[in-house]
């Protein structure tokens, strides 16, 4: 499993990309009423990016809307060499960061962050593993547990993780969006992934996935 945003093409993806490029061109020519059609496939990602940074549903929705309006206002500046989804998410992150700066929240969080980055994180749980089927996500309870685990991370780890592993930005794009170095993205990403793994392993002990068809004695990792 290599996560370097591999460009594995299939006909459906190609058709979707062509359709998106066509929509972009038409909106840029003035067919503004098509913009929502262009944005709709990414509206969940836009909200998730805003929520990862703001941690408040009302603010996240407001910022998501503002970001979409900003994207609409600047659609003529969008260039085809970038992915539209990445461009949209970067606008969203920027809007959310500006909102957070305005509201001056969690200022103190950054003081301890540096110390955390300087030390390696050692995994705590080494039980046998097994792949968790994606059907597990059909259960609201599982989604809530995963969301709670993510919410428990420090802000700087959560933001990098969301942008890289949920929003599918690459390392450089994540660094650009958050205004941090590539090295910091890598360090934070490693810690975020390992911490979440341990949190979910603890969740296994608490029976989060108890109704999933795992073999007796095996954890999903």
């Amino acid at each position: 499993m290599v996560l370097n945003n591999p460009v594995v093409r299939n006909p459906a993806q190609d058709a979707a990309t062509t359709r998106e490029q066509d929509l972009i061109a038409r909106v840029q020519r003035g067919q503004n009423e098509l913009f929502y059609e262009l944005v709709k496939p990414y509206e969940r990602r836009v909200y998730a990016a805003a929520f990862a940074i703001l941690r408040n549903e009302t603010d996240a929705e407001d910022v998501a809307q503002e970001a979409v309006l900003k994207a609409f206002a600047n659609i003529r500046q969008f260039r085809a060499e970038a992915r539209f989804s990445t461009w949209l998410i970067q606008i969203t992150v920027n809007e959310a960061l500006m909102r957070r700066r305005r509201e001056r929240t969690v200022v103190m969080e950054g003081i301890d962050d540096r110390r955390d980055e300087e030390s390696d994180y050692a995994p705590r749980d080494f039980a046998d593993w097994r792949e968790i089927p994606s059907e597990a996500l059909e259960r609201k309870e599982v989604r809530q547990k995963l969301a709670a685990a993510l919410a428990s991370l420090d802000r700087k780890y959560r933001e990098v993780f969301v942008l890289r592993d949920m929003e599918q930005l690459n390392i450089q794009e994540t660094a650009d969006a958050l205004g941090i170095s590539v090295a910091s993205v890598k360090t934070r990403l490693l810690r975020a992934r390992l911490m979440l793994r341990d949190l979910l392993a603890a969740g296994w002990e608490q029976g989060w996935f108890s109704r999933l068809p795992f073999e007796k004695g095996n954890k999903p990792w």
Binding site: V2, G30, Q31, Y36, A48, A64, A122, F126, D128, L190
Partner: protein
């Protein structure tokens, strides 16, 4: 090359990103084959990435899409957006309105109004260069010496054309001659209306100017 568990943990994220050099990758692959703890870390991390990368993990508040679409639509309207669609019917409609308006103006210029009364007489029959008198706070213009001039101390003299341009209308008493002429030119009702002036409402000033 042999790697220790701590080194594997340190590089495991880069390994999953495909960002370790081939030598280290080979060494880590070999390590995973023999170290159950590290293979547990590797697969657990893969689970994390796969589960959180699923779009079902991105839940939005109920009605989020609808509200976003509505706000976007409002913005598109405010910024004059959607013009290309509107223009498909707005332009022909605007053209029709202009044509209809043009026809109405042309009609008014050629046919003239159907006057019901001299009270509606705009004074076309009054010679435009005729000197007339107006006073402040009054609506009528008069021939000099007209008995119906009110507030005479504010009298001023100007041409009929200028008086009409300023919004004054002719006095039905002193300008009757011209109004009769004009009314006849527009409608047979003019003469009847003139005949009724004294009997019906002879005083055009009504309650005074």
């Amino acid at each position: 090359m042999v790697v220790k568990c701590e080194q594997v943990w340190h590089e495991i994220s880069n390994y999953l990103e495909g960002e370790v050099d081939p030598t280290l990758r080979t060494a880590m692959d070999e390590h995973f084959r023999t170290c159950q703890r590290c293979s547990s870390v590797l697969e657990g991390t893969r689970n994390v990435i796969r589960l959180y990368g699923d779009e079902r993990m991105m839940e939005v508040p109920s009605g989020f899409g609808r509200r976003l679409e509505r706000r976007l639509a409002q913005n598109v309207r405010l910024t004059g957006g959607g013009w290309s669609v509107w223009s498909t019917w707005l332009v022909p409609v605007a053209a029709l309105v202009l044509i209809a308006g043009g026809l109405r103006v042309a009609n008014s210029l050629t046919a003239g109004p159907e006057l019901k009364s001299e009270h509606a007489q705009p004074g076309q029959g009054v010679p435009p260069d005729m000197l007339v008198v107006v006073t402040s706070d009054a609506k009528l213009f008069h021939a000099a010496g007209c008995d119906f001039i009110h507030n005479k101390q504010t009298e001023r003299t100007l041409t009929a054309k200028e008086a009409m341009r300023q919004g004054y209308v002719p006095c039905l008493r002193c300008m009757r001659e011209y109004l009769h002429t004009a009314a006849k030119g527009h409608s047979a009702l003019g003469a009847q209306a003139a005949a009724h002036i004294d009997t019906e409402d002879g005083n055009p000033h009504g309650g005074g100017e």
